[in-house]
Symmetry: C2
Subunit: 188 residues, 2 copies
Amino acid sequence: MKTQFIYHTIERLGELLKIAARKAGAEYGLQPVQLEVLHYLSVCNRYSDTLMAVTEYLGQTKGTVSQTIKILEKKQLLDKISDLKDKRVSHLKITPKAIALIKDKIPTTMFINASNHLSLTQQQGISSTLQLLLTTLIQSNNMKSFGHCFSCRYNAKSGDSGYFCNLVKEPLTEKDVLLICREHLSNK
Amino acid sequence: MKTQFIYHTIERLGELLKIAARKAGAEYGLQPVQLEVLHYLSVCNRYSDTLMAVTEYLGQTKGTVSQTIKILEKKQLLDKISDLKDKRVSHLKITPKAIALIKDKIPTTMFINASNHLSLTQQQGISSTLQLLLTTLIQSNNMKSFGHCFSCRYNAKSGDSGYFCNLVKEPLTEKDVLLICREHLSNK
DNA sequence: AACAACTGGTTTTGAGTCGAAACAATATTA
DNA sequence: TAATATTGTTTCGACTCAAAACCAGTTGTT
């Protein structure tokens, strides 16, 4: 059984990524978690950009996330836009400043260096085994997947390049289905 | 290029592992980092069980690590044994209590669940691609590998089941070469 | 042998993380 | 309409972390 070895390797990889993220964030005065939140907000869809969604994604309490958001707001890296239908919720929109920051720092230089040393075939192999591991981890523990709409069972194709979400009952564009969603359910 | 996807997946995996580690550690009143230190000390060799080695492994400052060690010592999860040759250094030996704790909590239940859902072939595949990614990451960024002695260029076979480290100029046993070392250098 | 430079480790300080719990406001359900 | 659930904020206390000042022992140089 390779369980021990796989665990150790993933743990180490995660650690090295975090060390690099700490270093990268420091240049902008950001903590790893703050960078993580901005990254999440840059790839999630319009139904998943709320405080509670971030809370679920990071597995932290809402109080903790509320603090983090407050700091990011003060640093003008995101704005709170209140929801039109539900007055309790705010949508967290990252500012152009934050978008530039993420583009600059994620993936980290360390990771890009490594990636450049891998062939396309190797990348393909790593990519698919990692995906297998992550999917297995999520499904065997009944956790939320936070996957892309295009692989979600609620998503239906409609017309030529249009899509439709059967959960929120709204049409989705080509761009929409490439974002991740807190309601994502694997389609098989 | 799969760079973005691989980064995102590794980051997510690391995050889920950390969430689980936080939960697991909480049962014993331990923080993720503290668990991490104990885990490291349980798999490193006698040349790598010092504060500075932990510092390098975790990529933190020595002041921070010193704090963490102090707490673990107070909780009787490790003892400081001063080095015989160098009076500045202490060796951090984890106690039986800590060994039992690690055996109980690492890998986390979450991870074992996932592992049980994977075939041996799948585990083999994940294992080798992860190893490739980690090795590439380390080598392309000139980072310390913290690998096992058996794959180290300083390690030489001597006799039937004996080994010899050409760096510290001391013999190593069969068990020794399965531990990780701060001086590890890949042998090719 | 003496001095400088270096290394292992500790302590203090201040910003930030994090969970727990109490709280307010809005939505939903009965 | 009343009870309940959900989104989000605030406060508190324990802990993480880096930076910097510091001490003690070791190594290198003259």
